[in-house]
């Protein structure tokens, strides 16, 4: 087991005369035994990063260290890294047994008996002990997924890499495998780098998550931190479903002014903002509460457009009164009765707002976490 360190790695692809920077100066460290989820929209460079770690792509600049060794120029087959692919990439002409033995045969000097024993042991841990003689095309998708995992685990590698391994499963199986993967990873305690575009997987599985966009690392921290204290507007937008509401605002003294509303700030807020006056105002839908009439200074009149009942909660799409083109989303309890066309007020608590620099996207102020109860109380 070892620590995996990415030190300012960059990947440039060439397409004709054009250079495409797929991964741009990404540095991060995965602690020994840590489960890091790399997440980002498609095309953000997450898979390329993973493939550079695997040795399947060359590194344009920067260094990758495994333990104390730089592995930039170590061939894939010598890196002692196992990878689970989106397509599972099982060898179709081999039985499950052979699929799982292959890596051990190629990368270790173990005897056939030892290999057999290890394969059987791993297979039974994975619950595929009775499938050993079957070929991949005789297996269900979930079983193939297990075999692919088993094939990686049996090698007992330094690092696990997983490239969207669950995306080919149906929703239910995916949820089930998510938990199982977490359990396995904890048991095995192997450094793991897990790539996904699915934020649910990112939030639920990782010890930490790394968020990439356009090849650049946006933030790396625990899931909750990413959620509540995003480093920039992109992270705030990307994490969370439904996504954060954003409004362009200008700060005028101790007020935030947009064409939709004017939002007075308390003194403790003003201090955080420094000189920047062009801002983006952000508020998560669950932090918006709906009240009958605008009674406080952070209440704004709004009209309900659509209500999407989800059972435990309702997602409510509204627009500010007098601004039919505007839009704000609120998540409210499933039992709160809201109907289309209803005129009411949206309460946007000051404790819960995020403010970003409109130019750089960087966060200037994140919500206060200790005011959680206060928010709830207003409901």
């Amino acid at each position: 087991m070892a620590e995996l360190e990415l030190d300012s790695i960059t990947k440039v692809f060439h397409d004709g005369d054009e250079e495409i920077v797929a991964v741009d100066d990404v540095s991060l460290t995965i602690e020994d035994g840590e489960f890091l989820v790399v997440v980002g929209p498609s095309g953000c460079g997450k898979s390329t990063t993973l493939r550079m770690v695997a040795g399947l792509e060359s590194i344009t600049s920067g260094a990758i260290r495994l333990g104390d060794d730089v592995i930039n120029d170590v061939k894939s087959q010598d890196r002692d890294i196992a990878m689970v692919f989106q397509s599972y990439a099982l060898y179709p002409h081999m039985t499950v047994q052979e699929n799982m033995s292959f890596g051990l045969e190629e990368s270790t000097g173990l005897s056939d008996d030892e290999i057999g024993a290890r394969v059987e042991e791993t297979a039974s841990t994975m619950g595929i002990g009775d499938l050993l003689e079957r070929r991949p095309d005789e297996l269900s998708g979930g079983q193939q997924q297990r075999v692919a995992l088993g094939r990686s685990i049996v090698r007992d590698p330094e690092v696990f890499l997983m490239d969207e391994p669950l995306s080919n499963l149906d929703a239910k199986l995916r949820a089930q495998m998510r938990t199982e993967l977490q359990r396995l990873q904890e048991e095995l305690d192997v450094t793991t780098m897990y790539v996904t575009h699915d934020q649910t997987e990112a939030m639920t599985m990782g010890d930490r998550i790394a968020i990439l966009n356009e090849g650049e690392l946006q933030q790396i921290s625990s899931p909750l931190e990413c959620y509540h204290a995003p480093a920039n507007r992109f992270v705030a937008d990307f994490i969370g479903e439904p996504g954060m509401n954003f409004f362009d605002v200008d700060r005028e003294g101790d007020e935030l002014v947009s064409e939709l509303f004017t939002y007075p700030l308390s003194d403790w807020m003003v201090d955080d903002l420094g000189d920047t006056s062009e801002l983006v105002f952000g508020i998560r839908p669950e932090d918006v509460s709906l009240v009958d009439v605008a009674s406080a200074e952070h209440d704004f009149e709004a009209v309900v457009e659509v209500v999407e009942p989800m059972g435990d909660e309702n997602t409510v799409h509204l627009h500010f009164a007098g601004h039919p083109d505007s839009s704000i989303v609120a998540s409210v309890g499933g039992l709160q009765n809201v109907s289309q066309g209803e005129e009411l007020a949206a309460h946007i608590p000051e404790e819960a707002i995020h403010l970003f620099d409109r130019q750089t996207g960087k966060v200037l102020h994140n919500r206060r976490l200790d005011s959680e109860e206060a928010v709830d109380a207003t409901l």
């Binding site: 692809f13 920077v21 100066d25 920067g62 260094a63």
Partner: protein, 340 residues
Amino acid sequence: MRDIFARRKSDDESTDRSDETRADGGVARAGREKPGVVGRTRRALDRRFGEDFVESAPFWFPAFLLMALFVYGAILWNLVISLTDYEGFGLAGPDYSNLDFEMYVRAFNDSNVINASINTFVLVIGFTLTTLVVGLLLALLVDRGIRFENTFRTIYLLPMSLSFVVTAQFWLWMYNYDNGVVNIVLGTIGLGPIDWLGNQSIVLWAVIFALTWQFSGYAMVVYLAGLRAIPDDNYEAAMVDGASTVKMYWRVIIPQLKGATISASVVLMVFALKAFDFLYALVSGYRPPAGTDILATLMVREAYQNTNWAYGSTIAIILFVMALLIIGPYLIYQFRRDNL
């Protein structure tokens, strides 16, 4: 699928950046592979041509070398020989010291070459068109959900498995003046007999007919593959729109067979350029029946029978250029469609 196309930058910017990171990563690079000559060359090659250029070389290089020597090296050598005056028995070999275009001048003034070029052109165009049309009709017939489709297809394609030499023998007999099937069949409807292989003005078409017999099955297979790639709903939509069968094929289906037509045409044209085997076997000699002399036969006759090596090479180059005129656009077409 990889998600790589993240961001486009202008050249300048990215160069700056990589320099920058290189400076940053100085410590990290200390542990890398020692930059020996081999390593440097390898890295330079990989950087120039793409990743894995060197690593994959042991696999593709032997094939590439054999092909480079036997195909492209030989063509270049042939070009050089065509610039010499090499003829007769090569005890002295070609004299490479004195290269000129004399042979080309001779070729362009040689009525045999002009004649053979015209015949080649007629053969290539006539053969390709008839074969495509016949192949398309066969494909449309076979694609109509018939029973025993495999059997029909196998039979139509059967001649394709035969050697040109075998085909020539069969058609020599088919075209026989007194006893050939063709004349006997025509005789039953009161036509002929026709001297298919002896009459200069029709012999080329007789050859085209025989070659069509051999290759239309091929065109059929290519068109079938093309037809099968057309989604069923295209047929259904056309029928819902009330188009007649003929109109549906003409307006909806056939236009979608462009790709198949291009692939098949190129292959057929090149087959026609190579029809030497057939014509040789027809007479079992280097001079094909009058009226069918094509560049392929003329080249072999000049070189191997008349030992005019340089002149033969010159004709070969003319033939090669004709082939290039067909292959070149095809390759560009394939490149544009991302098939290369």
